[in-house]
Symmetry: C2
């Protein structure tokens, strides 16, 4: 069987690629610690060739689609944002083609556009009447997940893509109407590594303590701000109310709980959770505290999304 | 005129001392970059002697009162917390005397206790049914401010002591009933220096932009969580909706606004603001956005508080 697509997920800190058959089946997969932050300006073609050149030599003329921060201003080539509301056809129709690719095969490598949206800010006459938000890569995962879960026509779905910058995505009638970014993973890392709490917490990773994590979530969703709840990590340690090895799980619960507190979800809301195994476990636990169950379409949604876009080009 | 008290404010990052007359008038003042984090274990007596030895030689038997983190487990000698509710007489009556001071003058150097309080946490049968909070140094400022403003008998006052760890203090009938810590200054510094926003903001300090700061406060008090609003620093820069030199003021407004959003204040609430000049300006602006005016008793409240405690010892 010959591959029909080289699918690439090129983010800030990692680079993954897969050879996909025409029906989307994964034939081969690779990952490299070559996120865009490790690539010098004008070095993207070289890194791409180092990582995937053999696949391209073995499959002349192979189509390549890439999603993620590779399309940002700091990436290979800026792929202009597609404004919301945006459906699958909108992003598939606005691919940013690399003019001169490795091997001089122009028109065979493209970057999927990210999305932008505008949320209400201050008064209509204010300079900040609207506040922009952006994503790159998550749009491909969302459309892949909708296909995997057969939800292309679902009326109202909330998709949650947790991580360094968590995205909460509103999907209506198969399109993305709006989304909101939360700096959850990043703020956890800042508090864990650089704040006064770092002096209280053990240096290495502690085993995950599910019960304490859930208590952290409960404190956060009943609280008003992480600025306040986070200090309890220090005081509970000071008064020896939590063992040192439980503090990391407690802080994780506080930060994820803060993200959930800020949502206006009702218990009947359908939430689709797109995350790796570790984050899926934590967010399922946290969402359950809010009475919300979720579907998890699995880790292959980026490949599914890129494969679906490829099929619009070569149906 | 002979001094009646050597008053010392020994915090995490700085050490200040003053010679006070019997009526509390400041005769001489000094500051050193010798916060407790710079002092090796068992090195406190030496640092104290280096900084204030000449004053003590010139005034044999001079009483010395200290407040701040010097009384913490990492300080000179642990001064046990005084639990809330706590009045002025409670802290004045629970001084922690240094047994063997420099110059062998036992019983002339004491540390003012910090305060602890317990806030409602989870269900009564939970291990986290109550959440502790702590302060060290702010209790002395609060009682100093009550005296300065002649509010010793005021029924209901909210005191705000902003900083690395802001304290919101509830005062009733001259005593501290409870308080809450917000990691405001620390989270600002984390986002400013260590987050992805640091790549967007100019490297050096920008001049304070009052209008943009106020917009940041407005966005935050209408928002739900700093985890979300903070990302707008990045997107507003990305779309060139705010100039680079305004982003620092905007972030400052977002973080201080988040602290105010989390309070349940009514517009008639009397707030006493105890801060340095720069923070006083920012918090007055931010509180005004919530319709709240505030009194500022000035920077000498620590000396006023320590002087009042000294007067209970030698009336």
């Amino acid at each position: 069987m010959k591959p029909a697509l080289l699918a690439v997920d090129w983010g800030t800190s990692s680079l993954r690629g897969a050879l996909l058959a025409a029906d989307g089946v994964v034939m081969e997969e690779r990952a490299f610690p070559r996120g865009i932050l490790t690539v010098p300006p004008h070095g993207f073609a070289d890194v791409f060739e180092q990582c995937f050149g053999d696949w391209r030599t073995a499959n002349p003329g192979l189509l390549c689609l890439m999603s993620g921060m590779v399309g940002s201003r700091q990436g290979w080539q800026e792929a202009p944002y597609c404004p919301c509301p945006a459906g699958f056809a909108d992003i598939a129709g606005q691919l940013s083609w690399i003019a001169s690719g490795p091997g001089s095969e122009a028109g065979r490598i493209a970057i999927v556009p990210g999305l932008s949206c505008a949320r209400k800010g201050l008064e209509a006459d204010s300079a900040l009447a609207s506040l922009p938000d952006v994503m790159r890569g998550e749009e491909t995962q969302v459309f892949g997940a909708l296909q995997t879960l057969q939800l292309q026509d679902a009326q109202d779905v909330v998709m949650l893509l947790p991580g360094t910058h968590s995205k909460w995505v509103q999907v209506k009638d198969g399109g993305i109407t709006s989304f909101t970014t939360f700096m959850t993973g990043e703020c956890y890392a800042l508090l864990r590594q650089h704040s006064i709490l770092a002096r209280t917490l053990p240096t290495g990773d502690s085993p995950f303590d599910e019960a304490v994590f859930v208590q952290g979530v409960q404190i956060a969703v009943r609280g008003t701000s992480l600025l306040q709840t986070a200090f309890s990590v220090r005081t509970l340690a000071l008064f020896e109310r939590l063992p040192a090895e439980a503090l990391e799980s407690y802080l994780s619960g506080l930060v994820i709980g803060e993200e959930l507190r800020a949502q206006s979800l009702n218990a009947n809301q359908r939430v689709v959770l797109i995350a790796n195994t570790a984050l899926t476990q934590r967010y399922q636990l946290a969402l359950a505290q809010c009475g919300i169950a979720c579907d998890s379409p699995g880790a292959q949604v980026t490949w599914t999304g890129l494969s679906a876009i490829a099929q619009t080009l070569c149906p």
